[in-house]
């Protein structure tokens, strides 16, 4: 008997818990599951922050994968990620309008500029100095600016990246590009500033001057800023990319085995989000004061995306080498520096608001975040395929619509970003769709099984044929029995054999110039009481 990995995990867990094994069956009555009910009421978990240094060491030395990497656990039988407190299927499952993409997560219009903004606290140091304000509506926003030397770089980038990550399906804050008039800022009574030592003291006018002195201004004196609406709920601190929260019962899948966190590597590579690490995430608890609620998991802080490194252009190393990576260190050290990193010589255009972002040298498989990410390290071809298919859904007008929300002053900068994103998208899609049989979008149409070959859409081959064999499938024993004989088709439509079997399975191999496409895809159909596709197994 062969059990799929998720079923095996459940069985082992139940056995360990002293629960008798359930009747074995590959597909359950509610498969494929499109919603993971992980918002069951719990008490408030422990509020804690995480150390970036410890995260670096744990991710670099401790939480690296060993041996065979287990498949992602939180997927449905189609290999998709159900909606959950981590992820909501958006562009991957439905079409999004250009307006919807441009709006992203934003439900409001941004801070109310009709009255003064009251500063309630500030920080004078840090990666990007800024402060927290309350607008006339008493909404709370975190305000961050561009460094003086690089107007629009961080703020426009953050807005653009937020829209992309929202469209992918992640939970992200409402981030607005806004213009700040210094005269409209008022230091609130009791406003505190955190100084360089982390000490809090009362904020004074000169503190505000000091912060505003460091930021980029427009010729009219206004300051472009990112206004990030405070997330509703109680902040609990960042989530880790490894393990689970021991005080959240809803959190049962090890984070490194969540497909949306493994696949985040593909999205991060596309947008050059090298800062995809724990400290740039935030869990919040949604519930009544003192009552039950649930945890919602967010990605935050996209200032280090595309060509922006938050306070300056991305470092040349970003995306190409970990902060600590032994091989290049040994090579450069032992050759007295004669061996050099190729990324040092990558040319970048001198375009305002763009920074260091390119597509010519970008290789999807080689892309790296600042330091190893336990979930990224465990990304398997199926995880990458899932993400690459989402990336593929973005059309040129969609990318243009999102980039336009960055409101870059120079049209050439905007054009360059779009062009670079399209090229990186092409590389990502072509690479990951070439690693396995990419057939997708299986659905029944009367007596036909229809599907798509996104590899052809990606230009990986001009044509393909499909060899297939139908089987009767026993959902309990997982024994298969051929129905009919091998057949071949040039079309992405296969006739479903007449059969009284409850379960059918078809194994399809794609014949084209890519050898990996010959790996089988198994598609499982429930053949009674409303036929439908219930499972897809794609060999890696």
């Amino acid at each position: 008997m062969r059990l799929s990995p998720p079923v095996t995990v459940v069985m082992i867990a139940l056995l360990l818990a002293g629960v008798p094994p359930l009747p074995a069956q590959r597909f359950l009555r509610d498969d494929p599951l499109w919603t993971d009910q992980d918002r069951l009421p719990t008490d408030l978990p422990h509020v804690r922050d995480l150390s970036a240094v410890v995260d670096f060491f744990q991710s670099t030395f401790v939480n690296r994968p060993e041996g065979e990497i287990a498949p992602a656990e939180n997927v449905n039988t189609l290999g998709e990620v159900p909606d959950s407190s981590w992820f909501t299927n958006r562009i991957g499952r439905r079409s999004m309008t250009l307006d919807e993409l441009a709006r992203g997560p934003n439900q409001r219009t941004g801070p109310d500029a009709s009255g003064p903004w009251t500063i309630v606290r500030a920080k004078s140091q840090g990666v990007s100095p800024g402060f927290t304000i309350q607008d006339a509506r008493k909404d709370t926003y975190f305000i961050k600016f561009d460094p003086r030397e690089y107007p629009q770089l961080a703020t426009s980038t953050e807005v653009i990246a937020t829209k992309f990550f929202y469209a992918f399906g992640y939970h992200v804050p409402e981030n607005f590009l806004t213009l700040v008039r210094p005269q409209s800022l008022r230091i609130g009574d009791g406003a505190q500033i955190t100084d360089a030592l982390g000490k809090k003291r009362r904020m004074m006018a000169k503190d505000l001057d000091e912060i505003l002195y460091k930021v980029a201004r427009r010729p009219d004196g206004q300051i472009q800023a990112i206004a990030s609406l405070a997330l509703p709920g109680k902040p609990l601190g960042p989530f880790r990319y490894h393990g689970t929260r021991p005080d959240d019962a809803n959190d049962i899948f090890p984070h490194e085995n969540r497909r949306e966190l493994r696949g985040l590597r593909v999205f991060a590579a596309w947008l050059n989000h090298d800062d995809a690490r724990s400290i740039n995430s935030l869990d919040v608890f949604l519930g009544e004061e003192g009552g039950a609620g649930h945890v919602l998991h967010h990605l935050i802080d996209f200032g280090s995306c595309l060509g922006s490194g938050s306070i300056k252009p991305q470092s040349r190393r970003a995306g190409y080498e970990y902060m600590l990576e032994w091989t290049p260190i040994i090579r450069a050290g032992s050759t007295m520096g004669v061996w050099d990193r190729a990324w040092r010589d990558i040319p970048y255009p001198d375009l305002p608001g763009v920074g260091r972002f390119e597509a010519d040298f970008f290789q999807p498989r080689e892309w790296k975040p600042e330091y190893p990410n336990p979930a990224f390290d465990r990304m398997r071809p199926n995880d990458a395929f899932w993400a690459a298919r989402i990336v593929q859904r973005f059309t040129r007008p969609m990318i243009e619509a999102i980039v336009r929300t960055g409101q870059l002053s120079h049209p050439s900068s905007e054009r360059y970003l779009v062009k670079t994103l399209l090229e990186r998208q092409r590389k990502i899609v072509q690479y990951y769709l070439a690693q396995l049989n990419p057939l997708d979008q299986f659905h029944l149409d009367g007596s036909m099984l229809r599907f798509q070959n996104p590899g052809l859409e990606a230009g990986l081959a001009d044509s393909a044929s499909y060899e297939y064999q139908w089987f009767a499938f026993d959902n309990r024993s997982e024994v298969i029995r051929p129905v009919g004989s091998n057949a071949s088709s040039l079309e992405t439509t296969l006739p479903i054999p007449r059969s009284s079997e409850e379960w059918l399975m078809v194994e399809i191999r794609t014949r084209a110039r890519l050898a990996a496409w010959a790996k089988p895809v198994q598609v499982f159909l429930r053949n009674r009481s409303g036929s439908k596709v219930v499972g897809i197994e794609r060999e890696e």
């Binding site: 069956q25 359950l28 599951l33 030592l197 039950a292 600590l324 040092r344 010589d345």
Partner: protein, 443 residues
């Protein structure tokens, strides 16, 4: 057995299911999750819910380890930032051979909202070296910069971030007292012998006014004017004879009389390095003039002219840098006066002629050249091969490249993106190998 456990699980009232392990804080007590007792199911959603119910019985708070709490505290307090406020412990370097020097510093910028800053520090080394200082005035944001060193050597102005609002000047009063009990002296001139090593105790106190202006990122100037009081006495290192026993006023001017000076140092800097404390390209030029006037008598009056040039040339990549250093200093004593031995420039040690001991050569004139080939294995790890050459001389006609003392060696440096933090240099010379562990760049 399984059946019994399963039955117990089903029959257990949900509300009384243990919500957390014993002793856990109530804040992590988990509410009973499913509305009904879990049952065997052929629903995936139910199976996942069952796993959640199972987990809810074994919850524990997500607490950080002590190590992680410690690191978190350090990160949240910006431990690595230089610009602490108030009292804090500090590790200082009190000069060559001083040993470890723990101390404290008090740093209070922007007193009462003004633009005046106050700083004071104290440090005592394991070998009895002491230093106490106090500065008051507009010191610049990152704290008082190393400036013209008390010995008269040209210090490189290490401007930090400029003050907000475009302020680019500093002016402050400086009071310093130092006690250096084991300073080495081998005699004056290029032919001094290593076997003639002696030691003396140097105590000096200064009362100075320091001012500077940064015209722009490239050009800056500074001046230090004030009083310098120097006392020498036998050193405390029992391995070597006291300088006062082995040398006389003729062979070590100033050894029999205490120096009490009015001092003026001026310097002008042309700085085009890419990074101030971890340069990879560009360079810096500094010109300085100093005047030392004895307050009583004039036997130790002199002028000093110094020129320092450093250049950093990337060799096809910032990973490979050729660093060049040229330094010369010429002292001009007044008629019938001498330059005191304790204010003469020296060669040897962790920054010059690294194959020789600290203070190995000294005289009124000095010529020094150094070249380093530096290569970064990683941005935080740098290796270097170096070659140093230099000489001290008494007659300006000897200002040439003959008779240079040479040393060569290998170095390892740990760096941040902003600065060289730790440097280990191993140098060789005709007098054997030397190893130096230092803070900060060689040049």
């Amino acid at each position: 057995m399984h059946c019994l456990l399963w039955a117990a699980l089903i029959l257990a009232p949900i509300s009384s299911a243990p919500s957390s392990t014993a002793g856990d804080p109530p804040t992590v007590r988990q509410r009973a999750e499913p509305d009904a007792a879990p049952e065997p199911t052929d629903s995936r959603a139910e199976r996942w819910r069952l796993r959640r119910w199972e987990k809810s019985r074994h919850l524990r708070p997500d607490l950080l380890s002590g190590v992680e709490r410690g690191f978190l505290w350090l990160e949240q307090t910006n431990f690595l930032e230089i610009n602490y406020r108030g009292f804090y412990p500090r590790y200082s370097s009190l000069g060559p051979g001083a040993g470890s020097a723990p101390g404290v510093r008090y740093w209070k910028p922007d007193l009462r909202g003004s633009k005046l800053d106050f700083q004071s520090s104290a440090a005592i080394s394991t070998r009895g070296y002491q230093e106490y200082d106090l500065q008051f005035g507009r010191i610049i944001l990152t704290g008082p910069p190393p400036f013209l060193e008390p010995s008269g050597n040209v210090g490189i102005s290490q401007y930090g971030d400029s003050a907000p609002g475009g302020e680019r000047f500093f002016v402050y009063g400086d009071v310093t007292y130092r006690s250096l009990p084991q300073e080495d002296f081998y005699g004056i001139g290029p032919d001094s012998r290593e076997t003639d090593r002696t030691d003396y105790k140097l105590r000096d106190s200064t009362l100075d006014l320091v001012a500077g202006v940064e015209f722009n990122r490239t050009f800056s100037a500074a001046v230090r004017v004030g009083l310098l009081d120097v006392n020498t006495s036998p050193g405390t290192d029992e391995r070597f004879p006291a300088t006062q026993e082995a040398f006389s006023e003729e062979t070590a001017p100033g050894i029999t009389r205490q120096g009490d000076y009015v001092r003026l140092n001026t310097a002008f800097f042309v700085d085009f390095r890419d990074r101030l404390r971890n340069p990879h390209r560009g360079g810096i030029l500094s010109f300085s003039f100093s005047r030392y006037d004895e307050r009583t008598g004039g036997a130790l009056d002199f002028n000093r002219f110094a020129f320092d040039a450093r250049h950093y040339q990337p060799l096809g990549s910032v990973q490979r840098v050729l660093a060049l250093h040229f330094f010369t200093s010429v002292d001009d004593a007044d008629r019938n006066a001498s330059v005191p031995f304790y204010l003469q420039n020296t060669l040897g040690g962790s920054e010059t002629l690294r194959g020789f001991r600290h203070f190995r050569f000294r005289d009124v004139n000095i010529l020094y050249l150094s070249a380093e080939y530096r290569w970064e294995a990683a941005p935080a790890l740098e290796f270097a091969l170096f070659y140093d050459a230099g000489k001290v001389f008494s007659d300006r006609s000897e200002f040439d490249l003959t008779g240079l003392r040479k040393s060569w060696g290998f170095g390892v440096r740990l760096k941040t993106t902003r600065a060289v933090v730790l440097r280990l240099d191993a140098g060789w010379s005709e007098e054997g190998p030397r190893t130096y562990l230092s803070f900060g760049p060689s040049f």
